[in-house]
């Protein structure tokens, strides 16, 4: 029998709000693909945001086990389709390094091919960051930067179309070189684009980066400090936004990056505008600065001489020796690692792609706690994920 209630003249009013569970995605305008977030909301405040992924899982790793090495390259295109050149290159670098372990099978990638790879991948980096800039503006509510970004990205895609015939999935960088040489006048067109594009970056900075409302929305939001970023395995612009100056192109130079003079863009504390290391604004700003650095690298390629010669190494067949390798390269979204296990046959035993977006997304749950719905959008945009790469 229940104990009698203590008598009270007054009805005690306890303000009580129910937790609202909202499914954000998989079809949502600003989840950048098919990401589903399970939001537990207290009014506008997010108690917890749980990411659910896998809607774009296309079994890259399973496919790879049944394909020969050159056949895998088109599949890497489809991982991060925004920066497919860098994905191609990352895979090829890993295979080349694995083959170099055997003196008989090892080969040198021709100089000309290396220059072409750097040129094209830096262009792709600009294209990727442009897309990130545009969509981030749109996430925050400014529609116009999006169209400006696409206008300029279109010019890059036209260049790619000229060099490899494709606009999205290039399959251009191959094991041992590149698939075809550049057409005549290509360098002039690249120069024309670079000359056109460089002043545009400042224009975009004044349009969006320095916008009062934009700064209000992004500075100091979702701060991910350096230690947390490293603990979460976050790389690329997201890590550099936290103040680290870690860039594989500089710290472990692969290919011919050691020949170019460029700075690593990294986040800064700017009290005037309230920017803190590792907030959304810094993560975003690093990308804007990185575009300038990419322009610098491309200028150096254009001003220097691209050596003549073959664009493909001489080799019999792609058949790496028995062994395993983990190689990472600096893709626009962070360090793209490929772990390849070979048993000496033309097909790999295991190909594992370590995607930077995957790790970046895993930090979302911790980043978003206690923020508002609108901030979730700001975070997703600032960590710049491509679902194709998250789900693979």
């Amino acid at each position: 029998m229940a104990a009698p209630k203590p008598e009270s003249k007054f009805i005690e009013l306890k303000p009580f709000t129910d937790e609202m569970v909202v499914n954000m995605g998989p079809q949502h305008p600003s989840t950048h693909g098919v990401l589903r977030l399970e939001l537990k909301l207290d009014g506008e405040v997010v108690r917890e945001a749980i990411p659910h992924i896998g809607y774009l899982h296309r079994c890259f790793e399973k496919h790879s086990e049944n394909l020969s090495y050159p056949q895998i390259i088109p599949f890497t295109d489809r991982m991060d389709y925004i920066a497919a050149m860098n994905q191609n290159w990352g895979f090829c670098l890993a295979v080349e390094k694995l083959m170099a372990a055997d003196e008989k099978k090892g080969f040198e990638v021709p100089e000309r091919a290396e220059y072409l790879r750097v040129l094209i991948c830096e262009l792709n980096r600009i294209g990727s960051h442009l897309l990130s800039f545009g969509t981030y503006g749109m996430d925050i509510g400014a529609f116009t930067p999006f169209l400006y970004a696409f206008r300029d990205r279109e010019k890059i895609l036209l260049l790619f179309e000229k060099i490899c015939g494709a606009r999205l999935t290039y399959n251009y960088v191959r094991i041992g070189g590149v698939s075809r040489d550049m057409p005549p006048q290509f360098l002039d067109e690249v120069k024309e684009f670079i000359d056109y594009f460089e002043p545009k970056i400042d224009q975009y900075n004044s349009l969006l980066t320095d916008n009062e409302i934009f700064m209000e929305r992004t500075t100091g939001v979702a701060v991910m400090d350096n230690a947390m970023a490293i603990n979460y395995g976050i790389t690329g612009p997201n890590l550099r936004g936290a103040g680290s100056q870690w860039d594989l192109r500089k710290d472990e130079p692969y290919s011919i990056y050691d020949r170019f003079d460029f700075d690593v863009a990294y986040g800064k504390e700017i009290p005037e505008i309230g920017a803190v290391l590792g907030d959304c604004w810094n993560r975003y700003k690093v990308r804007m600065d990185e575009m300038k650095e990419s322009v610098r690298i491309i200028r150096q390629i254009l001003e220097g001489d691209i050596p003549d010669g073959p664009i493909m190494a001489e080799m019999k067949a792609v058949r790496p020796p028995k062994g395993e390798i983990f190689f990472r390269s600096e893709a626009p979204r962070g360090e793209l690692g490929f772990y390849i296990v070979s048993d000496g046959t033309p097909k790999p035993v295991r190909v594992r792609a370590k995607s930077p977006c995957f790790t970046a997304l895993s930090a979302l749950q911790e980043l978003s706690r206690g923020l508002m719905v609108a901030d979730i959008i700001a975070i997703i945009g600032s960590i710049d994920i491509v679902m194709g790469e998250v789900d693979r």
């Binding site: 992924i53 896998g54 899982h57 079994c59 790793e61 399973k62 086990e65 390094k97 694995l98 372990a101 490293i230 603990n231 979460y232 395995g233 976050i234 680290s244 870690w246 710290d251 028995k322 062994g323 395993e324 390798i325 983990f326 990472r328 360090e335 690692g337 772990y339 296990v341 048993d343 035993v349 295991r350 594992r352 370590k354 995957f358 790790t359 997304l361 895993s362 930090a363 911790e366 789900d391 693979r392």
Partner: protein, 160 residues
């Protein structure tokens, strides 16, 4: 530190738990007994002059149809000292269980979920071990070499 030095140091610290050291491959790796991987990981992450604060990759491997073993490979890197090491854990296919390293490197959380999803390796002590890429009601672990895809998934034909 080179992998050889790290191996000697680990051997001195953990003795029998460090099973072997493979040097002949491109990336040398240290094989660790499954039950002690979490301790080894914590030692590597916090040990003096080691400071492996960055887990680059965590992957499961199944070498062949005939083999009885699954591997879990840990690629570690130290941002402070700029050196790397590869750890390997070999478990039996029947009951693959490995202690989680999620408490040491948070990035392991999702990587372990993915390895569980695709290989069926259970990570003991993991906070939220469930499928991540595949649907929750999927049967089997597709990256195992002996995996046979089901004929039907929710009355949809799978092989095409």
């Amino acid at each position: 530190m080179t992998p050889q030095e790290i191996y000697t140091r680990l051997k001195g610290e953990f003795g029998e738990s460090i099973l072997s050291f493979e040097e002949t491959v491109v990336d040398p790796f240290i094989v660790v007994a499954p039950e002690s991987i979490a301790d080894v990981g914590r030692y590597l992450a916090e040990g003096e002059a080691l400071v492996f604060d960055f887990l680059m990759c965590l992957s499961g491997v199944d070498l062949s149809v005939k083999a009885e073993d699954l591997e879990v490979v840990y690629h570690l890197y130290s941002m402070t000292h700029r050196h790397n090491v590869v750890l390997k854990v070999i478990v039996h296919k029947e009951n693959p269980r490995v202690p989680t390293v999620e408490n040491i490197w948070k990035t392991a959380n999702w990587h372990e979920r993915e390895t569980f999803d695709l290989y069926g390796i259970v990570f003991d002590g993991h906070s939220d071990l469930k499928r991540i890429l595949l649907p929750d009601d999927w049967e089997g672990h597709p990256l195992r070499k002996d995996y046979k895809e089901p004929d039907f998934y929710r009355s949809m034909r799978v092989p095409y």
